[in-house]
Structures are given as structure tokens and as C-alpha cells.
């Protein structure tokens, strides 16, 4: 039951991240999606993959996106 709710939340977060016009907000929503995916990995009994997902996707990828947006334009 929890797994289906988390999958639906992930789909909604992905659609919101596509539709937002401010790219910084979009990147933050994408970090939330990565955390939801990490919790899904933890429920599916792969805790090491969940740890790597939370560290790389929610930490480093967000940082790289922020630097890229800072070098280019912020609004779509």
C-alpha cells in the first residue's frame, strides 16, 4: 500500500518538475523525487542502493544543476 502511494507521489512530482517555469524550483522538486525513489529502494530491500541514490542524486546532481542554472538563464 505504501509502495503504491509513493509511486503516485513520484509521478506527480515528476509532472510538477516538468511544468514549473522557474528552473530553480524545478530542480528542488526533482531532488524531492530522488528522495522518494530512495525510500522506494529501501522498501524493496536494497538499502545500499537507497544510500547511494540519496547521496548522489539528491546531493550532487542538485548542486550540478544549480551551477548550470547560475551560468545560464533562470527562467524558461
Amino acid at each position: 500500500m505504501l509502495l503504491e502511494i509513493l509511486l503516485l507521489v513520484g509521478i506527480v512530482l515528476a509532472l510538477v518538475a516538468i511544468e514549473l517555469k522557474d528552473l530553480v524550483h524545478s530542480v528542488l522538486v526533482l531532488a524531492g523525487l530522488d528522495l522518494v525513489v530512495a525510500v522506494i529502494f529501501f522498501i524493496l530491500k536494497a538499502p545500499d542502493i537507497a544510500l547511494t541514490q540519496a547521496a548522489v542524486c539528491a546531493g550532487l546532481i542538485t548542486f550540478l544543476f544549480l551551477i548550470t542554472i547560475h551560468k545560464t538563464e533562470r527562467f524558461e
Partner: protein, 136 residues
């Protein structure tokens, strides 16, 4: 950044690095390992770079060449430890007890070498991107 972000970063940063080393040292007992620990330590330095300005970070991070040498040293440590572990693994395993921290042969030292390599590579990427980015 704000003063709130700066103060929270000052408090939280050593604990994140400590958690990374905990993941690296317990890599053969609990989930995790060299890559996850290196990514956690690298994201701690990413937090440091985001929170402080360029002039403050310049003192905390060391020069490029040192991080480069660390990365190459981790690679050669993995090669040498692999060879040593192939030769001496039986003697080392006989002197260890199962499910304690000091067990599993050369796996713990191997995880530390992997942590060194991954974290220094990520810190090098972050630092060079940050020097490029805020110079507009």
C-alpha cells in the same frame, strides 16, 4: 548566503564527514561501501561550497594538485591492496573474529582506498566548477 545557512553548515559539516567515514569503515558489515561513503563526503563539501563565498572556501579546500595526487594514490592503493590480499588473505583471516569490526580480510582497507578516490574526484569536480561559476 544567509547567516542561518552559514551557521548550520558550520555545525553540520563535521558530522556529515564523520558519517561518511563510518559508512566506509563498516562497509563489510552494514550496507554501504567505498562509493557511497565517497559520495557522502563529496556532498558535504558541496554544501560548504554552496554556503560560503569563494574567498572563504579558498582557505578550507586545499590546492588542486594535492587533491589530484590523492585520487591517483587511491587508485594505486587499490591495485597494491588487491595484490597483497591475494597473497596474505589466509593469515589475516585466521587472526580475525567474525562479525567484528576488524574482520573480512583486506575489505576495510580497500573501502578506505575507494573512499579516498571517489571523494577526491568529486571534490575536484565541485571546486573547479565553483571557481568557473561565480566569476561572471
Amino acid at each position: 548566503m544567509d547567516i542561518i545557512v552559514k551557521q548550520v553548515t558550520k555545525i553540520v559539516f563535521p558530522f556529515i564527514v564523520l558519517y561518511g567515514f563510518y559508512i566506509a569503515l563498516h562497509g563489510h558489515l552494514t550496507p554501504g561501501g567505498g562509493f557511497a561513503a565517497g559520495a557522502i563526503i563529496g556532498s558535504a563539501f558541496a554544501l560548504l561550497v554552496i554556503a560560503f563565498d569563494e574567498m572563504d572556501v579558498e582557505h578550507k579546500l586545499t590546492v588542486h594538485e594535492l587533491i589530484d595526487i590523492k585520487s591517483v594514490a587511491g587508485f594505486f592503493m587499490i591495485l597494491i591492496i588487491g595484490k597483497l590480499g591475494y597473497m596474505f588473505r589466509n593469515k589475516l583471516i585466521e587472526s580475525q573474529t567474525l562479525f567484528h569490526l576488524w574482520s573480512g580480510g583486506f575489505t576495510m582497507i580497500m573501502n578506505l582506498a575507494g573512499t579516498l578516490m571517489v571523494s577526491s574526484a568529486i571534490i575536484l569536480i565541485i571546486y573547479s566548477l565553483e571557481k568557473e561559476a561565480w566569476k561572471i
